[in-house]
Amino acid sequence: MEDIAVFIKKIEGEIDGLTPGTLTPDAKFRDLPEWSSMHALILIALSETEYDVSISGEDLRGCKTVQDIYNVISSRS
């Protein structure tokens, strides 16, 4: 799987209103002011289409930071 910086860029492209550069690997995504639960679906869709990896709601619940999500996806891709 590609570098986490590329992964973050892809997330930024999908989530409207997210200022580029605010999303860091350590960012707790649920604490972002722009975050809403709709983004869980967006992340699942991104993972399916970009990496052909299925992540579940349970997987996401176990993640706190962007790095955690990246690790889940990269471990399966």
Binding site: D16, H39, I42, G57
Partner: protein
């Protein structure tokens, strides 16, 4: 010898869809009916001012039609059938069978299709049957129609699909209220056309029955005071057991995994490649989900139909409405091959090839 073998293989591949089903069935005509009341996105964001517009934009609905107080799904279905007869100049006396695919009957018994049969004034020797199916139901209905034509020698079958789901939504279930619209479609399937409906694939994962459910109000759980106890889900939507519930993330995942497999199974059964299909018409739950599926299957955008912006998710009627709109805007023409796929509540799925 090699030549003979090639001929046999060619013949088998070409005829395989028709070997599966005896007489050929064709979609002859489609009409649909939407209730008058419209709920726009402006109405929605006025009612739910805290909802972030950019998030909801990804769902891809601009407005939806809402069933009137006291109206039922069978009322919508009846109007769709009348529209079909009027719009296409169909003689109701020629109809051999009436199928009604819906959820939410007028009464515990009798069947709602029988009531519509009377309202439409169909012949007494025209059969009527309810099929209780949701999002995957249109293709199930097509298969029953094709079966009646093949096995019972029927000539003209009206397949009605109708949804009054907004009646079952909690007023504060904002996710579902944004997505769903009411409506009904009527499809005439005939034995005398040049096309066919074939290569049906069905499936069901009953273990997922609670992923989309109205828990109370049926025979298993009657309505009690507790049925109206409210909880707020992770999307900020209010739900209770008397109302419609959907586990959005699970259903999203089910669809992204199941539908590509379904499409490949239909193609394999038909002996076709993806490139042989002129148009892919799927159930329309939301655009983000269907785009995910489209990208996974690597289907070109110009071969893939999105048709929910003006009507929302009309459950059983999404596919016939999408087919109707595709005919109207010239994307679907006679002679084309269409792959249809339904998926959702059950959890259930279905697919087929329509040689239109």
């Amino acid at each position: 010898m090699a030549c003979y073998y090639i001929c046999v293989v060619w013949f088998y591949k070409r005829c395989q869809p028709f070997l599966t089903f005896g007489s050929m069935s064709t979609i002859q005509a489609i009409s649909y009916y939407l209730p008058d009341a419209i709920y726009t996105n402006e109405d929605f964001f006025t009612e739910f001012p805290d909802s972030k517009k950019s998030n909801f934009d990804k769902i891809g609905v601009r407005k939806r039609h809402i069933i009137a107080q006291g109206e039922t799904a069978s009322d919508l279905a009846c109007r769709a059938a009348k529209k079909l007869f009027e719009e296409h100049g169909i003689d109701k006396n020629e109809i051999d069978f009436l199928l009604l695919v819906f959820q939410g009957p007028d009464y515990y018994l009798p069947s709602s299709s029988g009531i519509i049969h009377a309202k439409l004034g169909l012949r007494n020797d025209c059969g009527a049957m309810d099929i209780e199916m949701g999002c995957s139901g249109f293709v199930y209905g097509l298969s029953v129609a094709a079966g009646l034509i093949a096995a019972a020698g029927m000539k003209k079958i009206v397949l009605l699909t109708a949804s009054s789901l907004t009646n079952t939504l909690h007023p504060k279930d904002k996710g579902s209220r944004f997505v769903f619209g009411d409506g009904a479609a009527a499809t005439l399937i005939t034995a005398d056309g040049n096309g066919s409906i074939n290569s049906f694939v069905f499936g069901n994962d009953g273990k997922g029955y609670e992923k989309i459910i109205i828990r109370d109000g049926g025979a298993r759980n009657p309505i009690t005071y507790g049925s109206h106890d409210e909880t707020t889900d992770e999307f900020g939507s209010v739900i209770c057991n008397a109302n419609y519930f959907m586990d959005g993330i699970s259903v999203f995942m089910f669809s992204t995994k199941r539908v590509p497999q379904l499409v490949n199974d239909v193609l394999a059964k038909a002996g076709l490649q993806k490139e042989d299909i002129d148009l892919f018409v799927f159930h329309q739950p939301n655009i983000m989900l269907n785009e995910t599926i489209r990208k996974k299957l690597d289907i070109q955008e110009d071969k893939f139909v999105h048709s929910m912006a003006e009507v929302g998710n009309t459950v059983q009627s999404t596919i016939p409405i999408a087919l109707y709109e595709s005919i109207q805007n010239g994307r679907l023409k006679r002679g084309m091959k269409v792959l249809v796929a339904g998926f959702g509540v059950g959890l259930s799925w279905s697919g087929a090839i329509i040689d239109y």
